[in-house]
């Protein structure tokens, strides 16, 4: 499942912002909606959100940068998130992370040079009794071992 994102478009951005701006405390809701549509939060959208919510640009930018989820630029075609928290560490997650880094040729937290795969750490998917676990484009995978990880990496590289 690759999510197809729209290219940034100011009118479309304004429409998304208007759709949610009446809610109380709407900043995160709007940033999520923008990222859902465009695959990241385009910089020109920040002052538009500020204007709509009667906040300063700095306030909105501050929210945008505080949360790990929001992206400054689009991710690779596929996003592979590997859980790096304690339960997965206990179940052999460190070795799997190193293996995936080697196979993908990038350190965790980066996108491959061909823009195919963004490989990120995630701190707990709540799949701690079927550890180690990962998420590929929103699909959860548990009980990873070398073979299952290799298949997942290969799928992400396709």
């Amino acid at each position: 499942m690759t999510s197809v994102c729209e290219p940034w478009d100011e009118a479309r951005g304004a429409e998304i912002i208007a759709e949610h701006s009446a809610q109380e405390g709407a900043t995160l809701v709007i940033l999520h909606a923008l990222q859902e549509a465009f695959g990241y939060v385009p910089e020109p959208a920040i002052p538009m959100v500020a204007e709509a919510l009667n906040l300063s640009r700095a306030e909105v930018y501050g929210v945008f940068t505080f949360y790990h989820d929001f992206r400054k630029q689009p991710a690779g075609r596929h996003v592979l998130k590997l859980c790096r928290a304690e339960a997965c560490q206990a179940a052999g997650g460190d070795a799997l992370a190193a293996r995936a880094e080697k196979k993908l040729g990038v350190a965790i937290g980066n996108t491959t040079a061909d823009d195919r795969v963004t490989f990120e750490p995630i701190y707990c998917l709540g799949l701690c009794a079927t550890a180690p676990s990962a998420m590929l484009d929103g699909r959860v995978v548990g009980r990873l071992d070398e073979a299952r990880l290799d298949a997942l990496v290969a799928e992400a590289q396709r």
Partner: protein, 518 residues
């Protein structure tokens, strides 16, 4: 006759192939012309048996697991003829691991269809709300206090006192907030109940609303839980359709509405004041207390903020009576705790039981030790901010006070098991590193202390002035523990200090024990 087959839609079951099993079941049924009805339930919590498939029989639901798509054709024969199968586990309710639990909160999880109000009602749901609607707020509060329920998020604050404070507060608006930002590694009970029995959370929050006089509630779910977000939204929509949310709930004079808000990947937002800031659309900076959220919470209004499991415990208390709940447990820890067995464990999953069970029983007996088959060396209880316990402390009873007396905490009830290949200095470093990454940055002890902690543990691990640097780590931990604004900086010393205290041999250049093991 149409076979009724139950397959979990819990994320942990999906992660090990439950959806593929459903596809295989449908294809096989079609090929054989055998009509079936597949009901997607939550998980019973026996994670090593997932995907666990159940089929309705005259004697009850018979379980099979763990099922792969390749098993489906033979499974089909066994299910249709109630015959033998290598994966047959017998009647689900009779599986010993389930039978020895005391399921009060999770009584329906894995059994009901999480999208169906009717199914929830057919299994005793909404009786708590029904009774609550016939009581005065003071009577509900008295029940809560008798039950002895303490906040299940980790802090263990008496829920009755919190609710009474909000009930007594005067304001034009009040809020109910459910903390579903379950970020602790090794915990997944919130996720499971939201995916498997979401109406119990809705019912608990609704009871809170009518008790304190709030008409609006928010459930703040972390973005790492997309399945839970979908399940909660679907359940809220279903409850609205059934007249159990919105104006005049259940035909009463009370109104209560619910909305799901999704977090954005900040661990600190599990801290209640940080969560409120995030809900208001700001950076998740921790607030100084006082004022308490009960006085000035969401949008500055009196707010009940509780963990998912606290709200989920409420319907049982109202329906079955406070005493029935308080009869479980020990000391000041009353009722049951949904304990989560995780990490390197043979029989991992959700084990709800009365307080008082020992750590050793949980890890060795119920959990069956490690899945790698190696000896258990350490267990971390209570998430990234919880202490590491060695075998020597396995007689510790699962109880808020007993854990505190051993410099630990039960937190949200997660237990992560490590075998003897673990490097405890590395785990201590990770605790500091995690705190450094996730610190909201508002207070200095947490923001700077954690970064210095990482640097200092690195020096120790490379053999640089080990004794002096160990003293620095201890000093940093004391500063963080007593000087931080919230539990992130305040509790990070628990894993670090416990690792130091119980596993001192790992701190130094290339631990001798690990070299010997290689």
């Amino acid at each position: 006759m149409k076979m009724r087959i139950f397959v979990p839609c819990d994320a942990a079951a999906i992660a090990v192939g439950a959806d593929d099993v459903v596809t295989a079941l449908e294809q096989t049924a079609e090929k054989r012309g055998q009509p079936i009805q597949i009901v997607r339930t939550g998980s019973r919590g026996l994670c090593w048996l997932e995907p666990m498939v159940e089929v309705a029989t005259l004697k009850g639901r018979v379980a099979y697991g763990p099922v792969t798509p390749a098993d489906v054709p033979s499974l089909f024969d066994a299910m249709a003829g109630n015959g033998p199968h290598a994966l047959r586990l017998g009647l689900a309710d009779e599986i010993p691991w389930l039978k020895r639990q005391s399921r009060l909160t999770f009584v329906r999880c894995g059994i009901v269809d999480p999208r169906s109000v009717e199914d929830y009602r057919a299994h005793g749901g909404y009786k708590g709300l029904e009774r609550a609607l016939s009581l005065t707020p003071a009577e509900i509060l008295a029940d809560l206090s008798t039950s002895g329920l303490r906040g299940r998020g980790g802090a263990g604050f008496p829920t009755g006192i919190k609710w009474k404070t909000v009930a007594d507060a005067r304001a034009d608006r009040k809020f109910i907030v459910c903390n579903a930002d379950e970020g602790d590694s090794g915990t997944f009970a919130d996720r499971m109940i939201m995916e498997g029995d979401p109406f119990v959370v809705i019912e608990g929050m609704t009871i809170a609303g009518i008790t304190v006089g709030a008409t609006k509630g928010y459930i703040y779910i972390r973005s790492e839980y997309p399945h839970a977000v979908i399940a909660m939204n679907a359940a809220i929509a279903a409850a609205k359709r059934a007249g159990l949310l919105g104006a005049r709930i259940g035909g009463s004079a009370h109104s209560f509405d619910l909305e799901v808000r999704v977090g954005a990947g900040a661990y600190v937002c599990g801290e209640e004041t940080s969560l409120l800031e995030s809900l208001e659309g700001r950076r998740g900076l921790v607030r100084a207390k006082p004022p308490l959220p009960a006085h000035k919470g969401l949008f500055g209004k009196p707010t009940v903020i509780n963990n998912v499991l606290s709200f989920a415990a409420i319907p049982f208390i109202l329906d079955n009576g406070a005493k029935a709940y308080a009869d479980f447990g020990m000391g000041r820890s009353r009722g049951t705790m949904p304990i989560q067995l995780a990490g390197n464990i043979k029989y991992g999953g959700l084990f709800e039981t009365a307080f008082g069970v020992t750590l050793g029983e949980l890890v060795d007996d119920i959990g069956g030790g490690t899945f790698t088959g190696r000896p258990v060396r350490a267990v971390q209880v209570g998430g990234p901010l919880g202490a590491y316990f060695p075998r020597a402390l396995f007689e510790t009873q699962f109880d808020y006070e007993a854990f505190a007396a051993r410099d630990g905490l039960i937190g949200h009830g997660g237990i992560v098991v490590f075998d003897d290949t673990v490097d405890m200095a590395k785990q201590a470093r990770f605790a500091m590193e995690f705190c450094a990454v996730e610190s909201c940055g508002k207070c200095t002890p947490c923001r700077i202390g954690s970064t210095r902690g990482v640097e200092t543990i690195d020096k120790i691990r490379s053999g640089e002035r080990v004794a002096e640097n160990l003293a620095v780590v201890e000093d940093l931990c004391n500063t963080m523990k007593f000087g931080s604004l919230c539990a992130l900086g305040g509790f990070t010393p628990y894993p670090v200090m416990s690792a130091l205290k119980h596993f001192r041999e790992d701190f130094g250049p290339a631990p001798a024990r690990l070299q010997a093991a290689e």
